[in-house]
Each structure stands twice: as C-alpha cells, then as structure tokens.
C-alpha cells in the first residue's frame, strides 16, 4: 500500500552542519504519526521539508503521491491545497480577524458564495471547539490556546487529507492539552485524515500516536508503534519513556 509520506535517504545540511544523514520513514494512510527526538535533532526541519518550506540536499520524498524532487510549481500548488499545517503558535495572519483567517483559502481557491463560506467557517470553528463570537476578534485579542484552535480550524478549512501539527499541545495547560488530543482523534475519525505531528508531550504521545519515528544522531533510530519503539535500545528512548 502506498503511504501518504515516503521519505528515502533524506540528507539535510546547513553549511557544514549535517542535520539528517540518512532518514527513511513511511507514513501510512489514516494514521497519526509522530516525529520524536531530542531537541535539535531536526524534527521540525524534517516537517518543513515535507511541506515544501525547505529543501533537503539528498534523497527523495513523496507526499500524497507527489514526488517532491521533481514537483512543478503547478503541482506544488495543487498539493498545498490538499494538506493543512498547524504551526506551533498558530501563525494566524495578524491583520485579519479570525473569520477572515479561516476564510482566506476559500476565497482564494474556490468560487463558492459568501453565505456558504460563512457556513463553513462557523462549522470549522465549532468542530475545533471555539465559540462563534471569536470570529470578529483579531489574533492579538485571543489566548494562545485559542490561537492554536483557530490555526487548526484554518488548517482544516479545505478538508485536507493530510494534517501537519507542530507541537500541538506545547504551551497548553494539561486539561486543554488532553482536550486537544481528543480533538485530534475525533478529527481523524470524522475526516479520514492522516496526521503527522512533532511533539514532546508524553501524554499526548501515548494517547494519540499510532506509529512514530525517533530521530537521533541524524538518523531514524526507531520506527513503528510505541511498544516497538520502547523496546529499542537507545539512550534517548530509555530516558524519554522512563517509567512508562
């Protein structure tokens, strides 16, 4: 079966500094996949390479069947409408209110009526658990947790097949973080999503991930479900999952 993301022998260098030496991983359709590892191991860099924000220096990567090595501008634009990305702090456009932040892709890429756009925006706010009144507010007027939810609503607006989450629960209080985990699981259920996320949150890892890759020493030291990962002999894994 073809995976939603296939990375083969990815090499990344920043000048002299080698970040990834030989990264291989495979994300299956419909799963929640975690990118884990110590800080500075290049998790976020790898995710940025998946969403075409950064180039890798070697190897090949396929996302939703598109080969990133030879992708044309037109194909890339097509691909960009099939995924949603949630940045760590939401990355909402500060000059637009929440309504417009969510509606911006709909206005740009579709010709549906404003009435239906309003309908879609309201629905997406509802499923991420935000109240309707935040629509008129600006990003600077809402809390960090709300920004993340609004960012998620924006990522979901085109009903993507693939969702990227960069540290979705960092900076949230434990209760909101667990709610966010439940939300992610619910969304996967409802929209038939594949989700790739970078995270450090152990509770979140246990609750949501189907499979994960551990990046350490410039390589993937373990890939698979959590039992398989915990059984791997690696210092980072031993310390990270200590007592779990």
């Amino acid at each position: 079966m073809q995976g939603v993301i296939e990375a083969n022998h990815i090499v990344t260098r920043f000048g002299e500094n080698v970040v990834h030496e030989d990264i291989n991983l495979h994300v299956n359709r419909g799963e929640i996949y975690g990118l884990l590892g110590p800080s500075g191991c290049g998790k976020t860099t790898l995710m940025k390479e998946m969403v075409l924000l950064q180039r890798y220096q070697g190897g090949s990567m396929k996302v939703l069947g598109y080969d990133l090595n030879s992708i044309t501008h037109k194909k890339a634009q097509e691909l960009r409408q099939q995924w949603g990305v949630l940045f760590q702090f939401g990355a909402l456009y500060s000059s637009l209110n929440i309504y417009d932040n969510i509606a911006v892709s709909l206005r740009e890429y579709t010709t549906i009526s404003e009435a239906l756009i309003a309908e879609i925006v309201s629905y997406k706010l509802d499923i991420v658990g935000l109240e309707q009144r935040v629509k008129e507010q600006y990003p600077s007027q809402i809390s960090g947790g709300m920004k993340k939810k609004a960012g998620l609503a924006r990522a979901l607006v085109m009903d993507p097949k693939l969702l990227f989450l960069d540290e979705p629960t960092s900076g949230l209080d434990p209760i909101s973080a667990r709610e966010f985990d439940a939300l992610i699981l619910r969304l996967r259920e409802r929209f038939d999503l594949s989700i790739v996320m970078v995270t450090h949150d152990l509770d979140s890892i246990e609750a949501t991930l189907d499979r994960a890759a551990i990046l350490d020493e410039k390589r993937v030291v373990a890939e698979g479900n959590l039992e398989m990962i915990k059984a791997t002999d690696n210092l980072f894994i031993k310390t990270f999952f200590k007592g779990r």
Partner: protein
C-alpha cells in the same frame, strides 16, 4: 428539470410524481460544489416544485464537509418553506452529513464588514483622543524619569547614551553628508543661472550661506534623521514590546524610561546640533564646487565673501534648533514604539507614523522658530 455535467461532478434533477429527485455523481468537494450552488438556489424558488426533495448521492466518489454544509443549508431553507429533504448516501458520506447536523451553534449570517460613516467618525475620534492621552502620559513619564536623572546623576546610563549616539547619529553621517552636499550643489546650480544673467555672481555666497545655515541644513538633517533613526527607534522598541523584553526589564527592576527612552532622547539632543554643523559644512562645500565651476568663484574668494556677508547669528540660529528637533524625533519615535500592540501589523503602522509625525512636528517647530526669531529681530 435540469441537469449539469461538469468535469468532476454531474447533477440531474427531475420531478418524479410528487417528489424532486436529485442525482449527483462524481466529486463533491469544496471546489466542485461552486458549480452546483447556484443551481440549487433555483430549486427553492416560489412556487416550490414539490414538497419533498430526494437526494441520491450513492454515486458520489468524494464528499467533504463543505458539500455536507451545502446540503444542510439547502435543507434548512427548504424546511422554512415547508418542504423536506431525504438523503441517500454511502455510509461514510452519510456520517459526514450527520456530523454537520450535530452542532452546538446557530448559523450566523455573513459578517458585517463595513461601519457606517457616523460610526467610523466616532471610532476615529475616540482612538485619537486615547492616542493623545497616551502621549500626555508618555511626556509625563519622560519628565519624571528626567527628574530621577537630575536628582541622582549616578543613574544616568552613559553607556546606553554612547551606544545611541553611535547608532543613531555617527552611523548616519554618511547619508547626511551625501544628501546635504547634493542639496548645496542643486541650490547653487539653480541660483547660479539666475545670478549670472544679472552679473551678480558673488552674491551666491550670501544667498547660499544664509539659506543653508539658517533653514536648509537643519531641516534636511532633521528629515534624514527622522527617516533613518526615528523609525529605527520605533521599530526597535516595538519589537521589544512584542517579545515582552520591556516587561522582562520592568520585572528585573530596569525602568525602560531610564534605560531605553532617555538615553536615546539625550543622545539625539546632543548630536542634532553637531549633525547640523556637519550638514552646514557639506552643503557649503557643494555650493563652493558649483560656484567655482559655474561662476568662476575660487574657493578663496568664496570663503572671504562668506566671512564678510554671512553673520555668525545665522549659524547659531540654525544650530539652536538642533536640540529641539532631536527631542521631537526621538520622543515621537520612541512613543510610537511603545504604542505597538501585540501584532506585527502595528509595527508597520507605528513605524510609518513615527516618520510622518516626526517630520511634520519638525516643520511646525521650524515655523515657530521663524516667527520667534523674526519678532525678536534676528
């Protein structure tokens, strides 16, 4: 009744007995439904073609929540007209429809995005009023901090003042030199043509000397500094506010007015007169070059005449404006920086405002000086 055949989806609607059957096949997603949205509106016009709408969606291959919402809004509208809808879809598509029906909110209308004229005027007036109050508060804090400096000279941050002098003034000398030299050249060149026709060549010295020393050099220097250093103050302090550096300073007991605001203001107040002196020299140099090339007035002759015709008072009048211009530029730049709110757009807005307001205030201040000096007869 009608049918639609698109690239990715097709729709057929027909009356069957007392129901309208709507058959859809293909991809129903956020992009493709735009084609059928207007068609569906036609179905709900008066009089209704039927009391029941049957949606046959078994042939749909892709279905997303936007399509479900389209059906939902159709159903609600039909209900309000007394009709009902029935959906026949694949189970996974039916789940998406059910999810849309299961909601915790009322559908709101399209957002109202324009205020009417009266509301706009009112809102602007209130914003301006608050802005003015903020400025008064800023000036108050500024003088309170100045009092601390005066009462306790040990608290003066000499290091920060030196840094601000270097960054906002010394580093600006290159661009000041170039601009004022060119102003001198342009001014001399334009007047040389006029003076030549009257044979009044030597008066170029009087003309240039007085206009440059009194008005032009201070004004040009102030405009360049406002554009270069005033805006830098606004952006710098604005970013520090967004990244909470200002709050961090306060919690560690470093008053931003003592550490950031006053050093910059003092630096520009000290340096503006020197910058103006430098601008005087460069503009006169530009004039001298043109005078010698265009009018044949040698540098020696030029300087002789300069000594004779241009009184010292003109030079001092120009220089005396320096501290005032410096204060205005630095204070407005910093005030605008402090007004930055927690979003990136406000950095742009406030940086622009800092330059516009500083230049405007410098010109007003210059006009006031003109009136005062004319009235006391110098």
């Amino acid at each position: 009744m009608f049918s639609f055949n698109g690239k990715t989806l097709s729709l057929h609607a027909k009356v069957q007995g007392d129901t309208v059957a709507i058959m859809i096949s293909g991809t129903m997603n956020v992009k493709s439904i735009a084609f059928i949205e207007p068609l569906l509106k036609q179905l709900l016009t008066h009089p209704l073609p039927s009391q029941t709408f049957e949606w046959h969606l078994q042939e749909v291959t892709h279905f997303d929540s936007a399509a479900a919402l389209l059906l939902y809004t159709f159903d609600k509208k039909a209900q309000s007209l007394g009709a009902t809808c029935k959906f026949y879809a694949q189970t996974n598509h039916q789940n998406i429809i059910d999810a849309v029906y299961h909601r915790h909110y009322e559908s709101g209308g399209v957002m109202e995005r324009r205020l009417n004229a009266v509301a706009t005027i009112g809102k602007t007036a209130v914003t301006k009023y608050h802005g003015f109050k903020d400025f008064l508060a800023f000036v108050g804090e500024l003088f309170a901090a100045l009092l601390i400096y005066i009462l306790n000279p040990k608290s003066i941050r000499f290091k920060e003042i030196y840094a601000a002098i270097e960054e906002s003034s010394i580093n600006a000398l290159g661009i000041i030199a170039l601009t004022t030299f060119l102003i001198g050249v342009v001014l001399a060149y334009q007047s040389a043509i006029q003076l030549k026709t009257y044979g009044a060549n030597i008066f170029i010295v009087d003309m240039l000397g007085i206009s440059v020393l009194r008005e032009l050099a201070p004004l040009i220097a102030a405009i360049v500094i406002a554009g270069r250093s005033g805006s830098a103050f606004a952006a710098q302090i604005g970013v520090m506010k967004i990244t909470e550096e200002l709050d961090a300073m306060k919690t560690m007991g470093f008053d931003p007015y003592l550490f950031l605001v006053l050093p910059r203001i003092i630096a520009l107040m000290i340096m503006m007169p020197l910058i103006i002196f430098f601008a005087d020299v460069m503009a006169m140099l530009g004039g001298m070059v043109v005078a010698s090339i265009e009018l044949g007035i040698s540098a020696e002759l030029f300087l002789d005449r300069f000594n004779e015709a241009v009184a010292m008072k003109h030079f001092f009048i120009g220089i005396s404006k320096g501290p005032f211009f410096g204060f205005l530029i630095a204070a407005i730049g910093i005030f605008r920086g402090l007004m930055v709110e927690n979003d990136t757009r406000s950095i742009g807005v406030n940086t622009t405002k800092s330059v516009v307001e500083a230049i405007f205030m410098v010109i007003i201040c210059d006009a006031i000086f003109s009136i005062i000096y004319t009235n006391i007869g110098i």
